[in-house]
Symmetry: C2
Subunit: 209 residues, 2 copies
């Protein structure tokens, strides 16, 4: 579990603001998560998420003192971009990034909760599908949904996936899943806070790709 726990998210402050620098540092380790899925097919998703992170970082480094929290960025862009906003800049990048983060969250949570297809206990199809349905499906047109179904076949076996999460170390399954639970403790409130911010600022869009 080195991979995930090396880069544990920080605990949120009481006002639930997300510090931009800390967030970017932590989240930049997450695209490697998609390597755990094993197939090169998922490198496409990895680049999409990397692109989101790069875009947010590019805004942040222009004025770190101004953009201390993620909300600072989104609010500044609302002023700056007028009618184009929120389908623009770091606001758009974070809108999609949070969906990828939610996908990862639900997938890990579902595995840690022991949800599985009793007929195929070593497949993670049921967990991946749950994560997809809750985090992404509604933002995908039917062709991308079909592509998801095709890509699903490339999903790894449960045992290989857990091993990859542990960076190849031979750890017991319960040990690995306990660490996943621990990782989720700060991860979930951070993702939740970003979702809440998008609702509060009316920054959420529901167009499909």
């Amino acid at each position: 579990m080195a991979l995930l726990l090396d880069n544990q998210f920080n605990q949120l402050p009481p006002d639930k603001s997300v510090n931009t620098k800390v967030f970017l540092d932590t989240v930049s380790h997450l695209p490697a998560f998609f390597d755990c899925l094993g197939s090169k097919v998922f490198s496409i998703i990895k680049s999409d998420i990397n692109g989101n992170i790069t875009k947010i970082k590019a805004v942040y480094v222009k004025d770190p003192a101004k953009y201390v929290t993620l909300q600072d960025i989104v609010e500044a862009e609302r002023l700056e971009h007028g009618a184009e906003w929120p389908k623009v800049g770091a606001t758009l990048a974070l809108m999609w990034l949070k969906r990828g983060l939610r996908f990862i969250q639900i997938l890990l949570q579902s595995l840690a909760d022991g949800e599985r297809d009793e007929n195929n206990p070593n497949l993670i199809k049921v967990n991946v599908t749950k994560a997809y349905e809750q985090a992404l499906k509604r933002y995908h047109g039917w062709i991308v949904q079909k592509i998801f179904n095709a890509a699903l076949i490339a999903a790894p076996y449960r045992s290989n996936f857990l091993k990859a999460l542990s960076k190849g170390e031979e750890v017991k399954e319960e040990e690995c899943l306990a660490k996943v639970q621990q990782f989720l403790v700060n991860y979930i409130p951070t993702v939740d806070a970003i979702y809440e911010m998008y609702t509060t600022l009316n920054a959420e869009l529901d167009y499909t790709v």
Copy 2:
């Protein structure tokens, strides 16, 4: 046809060397080709090809005088990278880029030649599939092939595609196809020359993604 003919490829010199700067300038207009396919699904492919071009350009600008032709780059990288080569740097980027270029070539040629499914004369499925089979399929594992089949459904109608190639201008079909033929006159020898160079330099790989 503004789109394509605005950016006609140059005629090759007798030694068939491809000038790097001219090539990069011309080819950088091609990713827009995938916008003509209409669906946002193809923006993934557009970024892949854009990535190839960016990678080659990044090598070129480091020393334009050294890298006058594409072959100069590939040969310099062979010296530089040892055993890693050719799966590295601009050599790898151009290896994949040429396959995308070949895909475009065969698709356009097939349309210009009037190849069509007589039962569905306004579909380009038969042309896209031919291009895919000849240019790319063998480099794709079965999952990506499945994804191609799913994506194929997003292919535009022939009439809309030709209109998009003409940048929305209302031109007659024959006129558009004649201009496609004209575009191909210098395009095909350029793509051929790159393929020949990869064979001659033993730079071609046939791994699948």
